[in-house]
């Protein structure tokens, strides 16, 4: 690999050097002028996370349109400055340094995915910037001691399955599943979701019979599926992103494995999912932090506005990006400032103390930036996802045991 790494390194060095030089000699190139609020973001628009990255971009753009149509922030027009970090943790650090020091943005929004949120949050922390992020849900994000970070979604990864865990543990012992198989991608978010549920079930005395971890580049799931099928576990939990969930589910079906409950994170809420699996999705469970059908006042507006802008309804990534905008806007309007410097600390202090109404419901945070709500649990019923837990928000009855897939 060193053959083609070298030129890239050289190029990167040159680029960073020029950024430094430019920063040194110009104060005029960036910065929100008096009548605009400039917001800096770095997003993975190319590379591994390009699909969700573009979703987050659409979410931010729809928020900017909405806020400007409504008179802007503090009466100033809002403008986005988006850089592409190519899904690389090195690039994302350079990007946020450039956004804050060179472009002199007034506010920053977070990037996509835990792996990019942690390094970029560190940069924001060094510059004392408020850092609200739409996509770093893994516990690792909150264990770094960041003081300016807030996660703009209902719950951190470990709590995604809370409603499902409560449901399983509330069953009388005779009906309760006994054995659990877990397969999780070697990724902090994917593992967080699966292990949150696994640990709660294990604590309650259920037997974890398979506990597999696979690297993100795994394409063949025959072996993992064979282990799970052989164990005959009552519950299968997948700590998954997208292609791994689809491949694993098909591999399990190919082996004729029929669990009582099957829960997979992320993938089932994706519109491509039922196209890939066909009509064999029946009964698959997934946690979701967002649904277009939620009746929060700003959500109705958001769905309408977004659909008009992009020709289709928003998904979770788009909604979390929009939420990020709402959270920052609430703080800015309440405190009455949007610029670098001591204003940022006042924004942080305000968010610590207050609750914000968003498209994913009212949000508040603990002292590490963890949101204090839980995810809804959805299930495929008749080849469509319906909310089944918690009971008071349910659109359909939870099917347990699930029908054969």
């Amino acid at each position: 690999m060193s053959l083609w790494k070298r030129p890239t390194l050289g190029l990167t060095a040159t680029l960073s050097a020029s950024v430094l030089v430019l920063t040194g000699c110009s104060g005029t190139s960036g910065g929100g002028s008096d009548d605009t609020v400039l917001i800096g973001v770095s997003l993975p628009l190319t590379g591994d996370f390009s699909e969700p990255g573009k979703g987050v971009q659409r979410g931010y753009e729809s928020w900017v349109e909405a806020v400007n149509a409504d008179g802007g922030l503090l009466g100033r027009e809002v403008e986005l400055k988006i850089l592409d970090d190519q899904s690389s943790a090195d690039r994302v650090v350079q990007d946020y340094e450039a956004l804050i020091a060179h472009y002199e943005v007034d506010l920053v929004f977070g990037p996509f995915s835990t792996r990019l949120v942690v390094p970029s949050a560190r940069v924001a922390e060094e510059y004392g910037m408020l850092f609200v992020e739409p996509a770093g849900a893994a516990d690792q994000v909150f264990a770094q001691g960041f003081e300016n970070l807030f996660y703009a979604a209902p719950a951190i990864a470990d709590d995604h399955y809370d409603h499902l865990a409560e449901h399983i543990l509330s069953l009388p012992p005779a009906e309760r599943p006994r054995t659990v198989a877990v397969a999780a991608m070697d990724d902090p978010f994917a593992q967080g979701t699966a292990y949150g549920l696994r640990d709660r079930l294990a604590e309650a005395g259920l037997d974890i019979v398979v506990d597999e971890v696979y690297p993100p580049n795994t394409t063949d799931f025959g072996g993992i599926a064979a282990k799970i099928a052989d164990s005959g576990a009552d519950v299968v939990i997948g700590g998954t992103q997208y292609q791994d969930a689809v491949n694993l589910i098909v591999a399990l079906q190919q082996l004729g494995y029929q669990p009582q409950l099957a829960a997979f994170s992320t993938a089932p809420t994706n519109p491509e999912f039922s196209e890939a699996i066909g009509d064999r999705t029946e009964g698959i469970l997934a946690p979701t932090g967002y649904t277009t059908r939620a009746a929060w006042p700003s959500n109705v507006e958001f769905v309408e506005h977004y659909t008009e802008m992009f020709g289709g309804p928003p998904a979770e990534d788009e909604a979390n990006a929009y939420t990020t905008g709402q959270v920052v806007a609430a703080a800015v309007e309440a405190v009455g400032c949007a610029e670098q410097g001591e204003c940022q600390q006042r924004l942080v202090d305000w968010l610590r103390e207050n609750e914000v109404d968003t498209v994913v419901g009212p949000l508040s945070w603990d002292d590490r930036g963890r949101p204090q709500s839980a995810h809804l649990i959805q299930q495929y019923v008749g080849n469509e996802m319906s909310i089944v837990l918690p009971r008071d928000a349910a659109e359909a009855e939870l099917m347990h045991p699930k029908p054969a897939w």
């Binding site: 025959g222 072996g223 890939a276």
Partner: protein, 294 residues
Amino acid sequence: MSGSLLFQSLVLGVLLGGLYALLAAGLTLYFGVMRVVMIAHSAFLILAAYLAWYFNDQTGWDPLLSLFVTVPLFFAAGVGMQRLLIARLRPATLTMMSVLLTFAVALLIEGMIGLIWSGTQRRIQLPYSGSNVEFFGASIAVVKLVAFVLAGASLGLLYLLLTKSRFGRALRATIQHKEAAQLVGIKTDRVAGLGFGLGLATAAVGGTALALDATIYPSLHWHWVGPLMAIIVVGGLGSVPGTAIAAMVLGIGQSLLQVEFGTTWAQTLFYIALFVTLMVRPQGFFGGRLAQRF
């Protein structure tokens, strides 16, 4: 670990090994004939997979039928690529420069797929996608079986072509000693072009077989570059049967290791095998005495 799980894993390993053999067959040909390290082979595999998916998506017919289009198309593209690009590289630095050239081709294909079909992950949805047949207590997925049969048939054809036909003899002569082949009147340039075309034609078949049971996306090909390279080095560069044996050994090994040690360690088998081969037997384990030393 139960006996039935072990047997199931063995069956899965054999199926996987067959697929690996088909995917790697073209790579060993390029290197054997022309000393070309073809980084873009996996990109062509994914391109063929996309074409199979697109064909199925548009017509609703079985993706295997797309082979009637993609195999001739890829053969022509291979001949063209060799004559127009590879043949222009300086012989002295051919191996090294072919890495750069085909790396660029791989990026080009990846970008093109993303441009045309976007980065959305795709999967062919067939009535028999999740079906299986019983085999002494183990389940064999129908799609995996079809891919395996496809691999066996095309590798068998390739083997017959290389050993029985006049062209095959010319090709093998070119692999073994280019100058000597020229002395006995073989037009090695032409043979090289056709050999390259043949390699890409196997990519068309391999990509289609892969598409039957995989979720595909534009950057997927990078995951295949390493394992396929390891297979052809272990098998002996330039030897199709050697590649097939190495693919089978590594496929079964990966599947069995997975049971005991998990996926992460099972995947490192390829690189361990690569290191051991380079240290102990650089000409590969199954390539015979004429195989090229890396």
